[in-house]
């Protein structure tokens, strides 16, 4: 099946909307003056293509109290106050039941130096493997939430479960960040971590690649001022 066919299939239920948007705009509606297609772009269908995605190491205790770790790319910050992070996990994963039961998890930032260990955590299951032991990672007990983290990852967010949202095949867990701990060696003069010292992995959702973070190109809330 070609990608445009997948696109058509996926959007079949939207035909009415399409018809309305395209054909029945009120006279004088600003939208009717807009370009309606970009010939330089190709439709790829309904896919989870977003660039970049993070590589999040989700730490939990299972029912027996055994520390476990999984690798999640579906997540990110979702609120500044209270500071919150999301991770989306399938019900079939060992981590799912752990978060539901303990109402806590940690999020470690996977880095270049531990890329193989991070990837392993996304392949094996905590049901039949002690992933910390196999990967040679050191479990540390959080004193703030009922979840462990791996000492080897340079930044860790300790989270208590705030919301659980069923979306589809993934369940989204929203964790309130109660503390962030970072390797002292990664801190810059202002006391915050330096992304080029953390060396976090950047995930490519199209080709499943782990990439490095490249050079600094500019600073937000500054560059754009020259336009207005």
């Amino acid at each position: 099946m070609k990608s445009y066919e997948v696109g058509l299939m996926w959007t079949a239920s939207l035909e009415v909307d399409f018809f309305l948007i395209s054909s029945f705009l009120p006279v004088g509606d600003i939208r009717s003056n807009l370009k309606v297609e970009d010939p330089m772009k190709q439709s790829l269908g309904a896919k989870t293509l977003l660039f970049p995605a993070p590589v999040l190491m989700v730490g939990t205790y299972d029912q027996a109290g055994k520390p476990n770790l999984m690798n999640a790319a579906w997540g990110g910050i979702c609120c500044s106050e209270p500071p919150c992070v999301t991770v989306s996990i399938r019900k079939s994963r060992h981590t799912y039941a752990a978060i539901v039961e303990r109402k806590a998890f940690t999020v470690g930032i996977a880095n270049e130096a531990h890329m193989t260990e991070a990837d392993y955590a996304g392949i094996a299951s905590g049901r039949n493997a002690d992933k910390f032991a196999v990967a040679g990672l050191t479990p540390v007990r959080s004193g703030l939430v009922d979840a462990p983290y791996a000492e080897e990852f340079p930044v860790v967010l300790e989270c208590r479960l705030l919301h659980t949202l069923e979306i589809g095949i993934h369940t989204q867990f929203i964790g309130e960040i109660v503390d962030v701990k970072a390797d002292i060696s990664t801190l810059s003069e202002d006391g915050l971590p330096d992304i080029l010292k953390i060396q976090p992995l950047v995930y490519d959702t199209a080709h499943r690649g782990y990439h490095a973070v490249g050079q600094l190109l500019g600073t937000a809330f500054t560059l754009g001022k020259k336009l207005g």
Copy 2:
């Protein structure tokens, strides 16, 4: 206020949990064998530090039908099936009312070539500026959802609103991705976009930097197999 004081303030309500986790583990509980602190790490308090974050260009029509664009780093993929993306937006933003009213938005991937325009969209407000016009971006009318996108960004996700979740100062909007469109020039032989051709911006949540995506380091679901 120093960061550890903020940390203490934030975690005050967790004192009971801390006490329980640290002092009253049942005899023989696996957790009691774990290391309880990592002396190489420093507590930074409850902060939105996650590496990396994306730079998402959220496209909407406002009440008058005028195309608008904002810059959001709080978001990411949250479900594979149906394919969904989140963006978190404050109620005070012009984009907030637009999504609530139109129940649709687009997500463009900000790239190196349009970094200044992307940053401008995060500074100005659509209430008193035509951001597309000021930034010299071309609004394109989606035929699938009631929202526009900027032609200049190399990848765009067209989304219909699926869920709205109030978290704190941010509201999380979950959009079902009904199509992804990508510049033909960025596609690799398999028909999917090449991240090194897209050149998406990578956002540093600690120092607000826009970074490039660096070299490919390894491939997910492959590397980790050597461990078990």
